[in-house]
Amino acid sequence: MSYVAIKGGGLAIQGAESLLEYLRTEQGEGGLPLDLATIQSQLRFLHGKVMSEGGLYHPELAALAIKQFMGDSLEASFALRAYRSTKPRLCETPILDSSKMRLVRRISSAFKDIPGGQMLGASTDFSLRLLRMDLLDESKETFQKTTAQWMKHTKTDAIPDTFPKVLDYLREEGLLPASNPKLNMDAFDITREPLIFPVPRSAALATMSRAETGSLLGIAYSNMRGYGDVHPTVAEMRVGYLPVMLPHPVTGELTEAGEVMITECEVVAMYEDDDEGGKPVFTLGYGACFGHNEVKALSMAILDRSLQKGMKDGPSNPSEDPEFVLLHVDGIDSMGFCTHYKMPHYVTFQSDMDRLRTTQEKQRNKQKKEAQG
């Protein structure tokens, strides 16, 4: 026989792996392996995205994943997520207070002036997207001099570390619902419990927080364009380092275990009437994720709002349907299922052909009979 179904699978896999490794190192003597610090620093947005979508704050392994998978953000987050499966959950943090964040950027589009002031920080929002041709052959010397010069001209003591939150101001003004201390219940852990609908808001937030940026943006954009009507105002977008508090293993006292870089976004949307006859107030949407990723945090905040609306009144758009949004935004799930169609499907296709041929034959016989009849 000339054909034996997919023989030599093991060899083929090995071949594919070594070819990938060849591609990674194809620069040969003219190249240097990427070092992890460079990835963390110079590919910071990709790096943050991988930690966020991988659902694991591990800067070193995230950099390794980016190096190993040659910058494919889906694959890199996937590897990080799979690594996470080998680790038990040892303890939980309490709800962390984001007003304690060490900020590198915070803006509000609701007010010209906010308590503590606007801080544009590092942002591409208003930069011209012109290619900087001078970077084509950037020299090591110029590269290394830039930071030193920048530090020389910056007054480091002039800026406070933390800033008050814009929402607190709105709350004081009576424009927002008072925060409900009863809501500070245990958060739903999506890594330990399956989603069974209807799910609590904390499950929705956690799912979106590690969702794939593009998927969140796509569904949020549908809401922005008119398949929904959130019309958000960014009360505050903040980027910075959030202290992580954990109970001390001996004393049980809350202790700062480190900090994680996050992006947090709070949007305010049009008010709703209160069923219980209270005064109408604005509604809120919340988004937060690891790394510096404002598109993701803002998309998430919009979807949080639209989902809350959908949960209350029933969904009238895809972006308001918790099942539609939450079951389709995970990058690891969706890319895995997409890729799997490339696997052999001989058996099912054989079965499909059987049905089609039988149906075709029945139709032929029927037409024959009609022609004769």
């Binding site: 026989m1 000339s2 179904a5 023989k7 699978g9 093991g10 083929a12 079965s351 139709q363």
Partner: protein, 300 residues
């Protein structure tokens, strides 16, 4: 911790395995019911058998013998990949390609031709755990329908098929009622394999990793593919125009599910057993038979 891989035995942390085992117990207690579980990410793609793999890794222990097949073949890329991963993370287990030697079989799209025994467990990989997906996209609504054993819309879909095409068009993943209550999706096995679930001596487990569900057909359960009294369930047709059963071009067997392909040398349609282990065994038996024949001829 396995020294070779640097990962714990069975890759998953112990809490994850415990959760899977508990879900399996629940699944056995409620035949055909889809038990939700948290489902960890595995180092292979969602859709490549991560649900089946989590079952295998949670159930396997030293001394077990594992067989992994994909499309009936032990040597297809995905089967090789999964088997190598289990071997790497589970030292002291054995692997085999012989159906009868395995204590645990992980499979995609096929149930082996050889009848399984009470000592065996078969794990099937599942892309879509819910047979109602074709008629209802919302998981929430489907859950209610299952609870009420309301499968009317599924029957209507079958009826519409008959009206439109004069045939039930469901080719694989054929909805099957277990012990007279829940209807399950038997994973994308061909219709040919569905009757093997009926009164199966082996425990059949289904794992859907991406959809986070585990379900089971316990040994000696009723498994009844849905159909109508006047339109019975039918398996794939392996008969030629003259009504002769097609046989495997390699071993000559006429009982197995056949793969169809085009011989690259002469462009002719050829059939071959999809279950490679079965095919090899038939070949062995045929050789033994031929030998005996020769010996008999020589002696006479």
């Amino acid at each position: 911790m396995s020294k070779a891989s640097g990962y714990p035995f069975g890759f998953l942390d112990e809490y994850a395995k415990k959760e899977v085992r508990r879900s399996v117990l629940k699944a056995i207690a409620l035949p055909g019911y889809q038990v939700p579980y948290s489902s960890r990410e595995m180092p292979m793609g969602r859709g490549f058998g991560t649900g089946g793999l989590q079952l295998t890794l949670s159930l396997i222990g030293p001394g077990e013998t594992l067989k992994v097949i994909d499309q009936g073949s032990d040597d297809s890329v995905n089967a090789v990949n999964l088997r190598a991963f289990v071997e790497m993370t589970c030292p002291d287990i054995d692997t085999t390609t012989r159906t009868e030697e395995a204590t645990l079989i992980q499979s995609r799209h096929r149930i082996p031709e050889k009848e399984l025994s009470e000592k065996q467990v078969i794990v099937l990989q599942v892309p879509y755990p819910d047979p109602l997906t074709v008629v209802e996209p919302s998981e929430d609504k489907r859950k209610t329908m299952h609870g009420e054993a309301d499968y009317s819309r599924l029957l209507v879909k079958l009826y519409e098929d008959i009206v439109k095409f004069d045939e039930i068009t469901i080719s694989h993943r054929y909805p099957t009622r277990i012990n007279g209550y829940y209807i399950l999706d038997p994973s994308p096995i061909p219709r040919f394999d569905v009757p093997k679930m009926h009164q199966s001596k082996a425990l059949i487990l289904f794992g859907a990793g991406r959809e986070k569900k585990i379900y089971a057909v316990p040994p000696y359960s009723e498994a009844e593919p849905i159909a109508f009294e006047d339109v019975p369930f039918r398996v794939e047709n392996f008969y030629d125009q003259q009504g002769n059963r097609l046989s495997c071009a390699r071993c000559g067997n006429q009982e197995s599910f056949l793969d169809e392909f085009i011989d690259s040398r002469n462009g002719k349609k050829v059939y071959q057993c999809s279950d490679i282990d079965w095919c090899n065994e038939q070949l062995r038996l045929r050789k033994e038979e031929n030998m005996k024949e020769l010996v008999r001829e020589k002696n006479s």
